[in-house]
């Protein structure tokens, strides 16, 4: 039976409000389909590569956990964080690394020339990339985050959040982190187009800088000279530090969420502005 949304009726036959609603639903379906495709894409011929990646990530979390056990005392708090809280922070940072450090992949599309195809598709460029990013995050959530979460007690780490409220606010915070990540990605892509700089160099630079400033590797509170406090107000902190502090109950949740929301409000208009200003400069090089 044909779906009423796929009848292909001219817009003029319905009321304008109805037509607007139908358009929105169609757009949402397109993005949902894109998310699904992104979620299952790497499982076709790259399943074993994915398994290898997950193995490496597991080793990384083991290494970081051992590092914290070496430097932090078993009891008492260091800069407001107990060793148990830091271990939970580290494990959750790795479990949700894909969600907290997501990129849209726009840089690769720029260098491979795939961006040209994106402009031909019946959906906005921002929407396509964001849907793919969320889809990839869902895949990692099911295949890596949940297994690691279950494995945590064997690693001597309590994976549970500070409370039910913290878990709910964490979900909100991750959603805001995704929005900040996508906006930063589009801003970096615009800068790359503006500077006509190497895609790979820009990607590596962004990954290295955001891993450090976001608090994904080292909690900002444990950085020396109080620089963590300064980093806490930068947009990168909205990517990892904010959700992780909410999860572990080591920060003021409402203040952290407000900061994230403020960065979303600032960065998205900036991303739109920069992309609009630079898209005409876009030159692709092929793969």
């Amino acid at each position: 039976m044909p779906n009423s949304l796929d009848l292909g009726l001219p817009v003029g036959r319905t009321s304008s409000a109805m037509a607007g609603a139908v358009d929105h639903i169609r757009a949402a379906r397109r993005h949902l389909k894109t998310m699904t495709m992104a979620a299952v894409r790497s499982l076709d011929d790259r399943g074993w590569v994915l398994a290898g990646d997950f193995g490496l990530r597991l080793l990384r979390v083991l290494l970081l956990l051992s590092l914290w056990r070496t430097v932090l005392p078993e009891t008492g708090a260091t800069s407001g964080m107990t060793r148990a809280a830091v271990l939970t922070y580290t494990l959750i940072a790795e479990a949700f690394a894909s969600q907290l450090t997501l990129g849209t992949g726009i840089e690769l599309a720029l260098t491979s020339g795939d961006i040209a195809n994106r402009f031909l598709r019946p959906a906005g460029v921002f929407g396509q990339f964001t849907a793919e990013m969320v889809g990839a995050g869902l895949r990692d959530l099911l295949l890596f985050s949940l297994p690691l979460f279950c494995l945590a007690p064997l690693l001597g780490v309590n994976p549970l959040p500070a409370g039910v409220g913290a878990a709910l606010l964490f979900a909100c915070s991750v959603a805001l982190a995704l929005l900040v990540a996508a906006a930063l990605d589009f801003i970096f892509a615009s800068i790359m187009v503006l500077l006509e700089h190497s895609v790979y160099a820009m990607m590596k630079l962004r990954t290295a800088v955001s891993a450090l400033l976001s608090g994904a590797v080292i909690p900002l509170a444990l950085m020396p000279w109080g620089i963590g406090e300064v980093f806490g107000y930068l947009p990168f902190a909205a990517l990892a530090s904010a959700p992780l502090r909410i999860y572990t109950g080591t920060g003021d949740a409402l203040l952290l969420l407000a900061l994230q929301a403020a960065w979303v409000a600032v960065l998205w208009p900036l991303a739109h502005l920069m992309w609009s200003a630079n898209r005409e400069r876009l030159v692709t090089h092929g793969g």
Partner: protein, 277 residues
């Protein structure tokens, strides 16, 4: 012309091309320099901040940690200078069929791989960053190291670079059999080494540590040779060169097997239904 003279001549050509490329535009030059320095610093900053905050990490004093970070940055710097243009990330060349571009040249494959990735001007900024960190750490350590120590330092550094290269080639050779799936295999392997190269591995369990020194030899990139050189562990300074030699041997055998397979199947790049069409 002797082999060494030929290699030197190839390097000179690459150096000239690299210099011309690097100096074509002042803005491009500055962006590259600043980008490389930031990238290499960011790779070691996390551990440095920890060492500063806790005045060392476990058995390692703060300045010893900085020495290890400098050593790790030097390894990356040498690989950037000597094996760019996807020579280090060899699976990309194999997966994309770009190995053919080397095979049609009138020189042995090894010579192409040894010389084609030489980028002394655009790649040296990481190397200089590493040299700066190491020099600073050596001064802070305040130990007058004898000439013999510096020779061992050089040998271990060379071995660490060889270890990373061999590891990348070993995993990258998978692209001979699975060009699409394994095209980015070397990037993953090298990315893993680069991510973890700066961490002290002392606190790991025996099983994981053994894995980090054998299956995934990240320990040999900086941690193991640094602790030997600084006397944190018993000084078995030949361990890293020996491990590098063994891994290079294994990588060479696997790569040769891959080449034999490649001779039968060829590249997918230039056929209509290949993944790059």
């Amino acid at each position: 012309m002797s082999v060494l003279t030929t290699v030197a001549a190839r390097w000179r050509v690459q150096a000239h091309l690299d210099f011309m490329w690097m100096t074509k535009d002042l803005r491009f030059f500055l962006i590259n320099v600043v980008g490389d320095v930031i990238l290499n610093l960011a790779g070691v900053t996390a551990v440095f901040l920890l060492a500063e905050r806790f005045d060392g990490i476990g058995l390692w004093a703060r300045d010893q940690v900085i020495f290890m970070l400098g050593y790790a940055a030097l390894v990356r710097g040498f690989l950037d200078v000597g094996f760019s243009y996807n020579v280090l990330h060899i699976s990309r060349r194999i997966g994309r069929g770009q190995l053919d571009h080397l095979l049609v040249q009138p020189q042995p494959l090894w010579m192409g791989l040894l010389t084609e990735g030489f980028m002394p001007f655009s790649g040296c900024w990481s190397l200089l960053t590493g040299a700066g960190i190491t020099a600073w750490a050596v001064v802070q350590l305040g130990a007058g190291f004898p000439v013999q120590w510096w020779l061992l330092f050089g040998a271990n550094l060379l071995a660490s670079c060889a270890m990373a290269l061999a590891f990348s080639f070993l995993w990258g050779a998978l692209a001979f059999w699975a060009p699409v799936a394994a095209e980015e295999m070397s990037s993953r392997a090298v990315g893993f080494l680069y991510q973890l190269k700066a961490f002290p591995l002392d606190g790991l369990s025996a099983v994981v540590l053994t894995g980090m020194l054998t299956v995934l030899p990240v320990g040999f990139v900086a941690w193991y040779p640094s602790r030997q050189l600084l006397g944190i562990a018993a000084p078995h300074l030949w361990h890293t060169p020996l491990a590098a030699l063994l891994l290079a041997l294994v990588a060479g055998i696997v790569f040769k097997k891959g080449m034999e397979h490649y001779a039968q199947t060829g590249s997918q790049r230039y056929i209509a239904w290949g993944h790059r069409g």
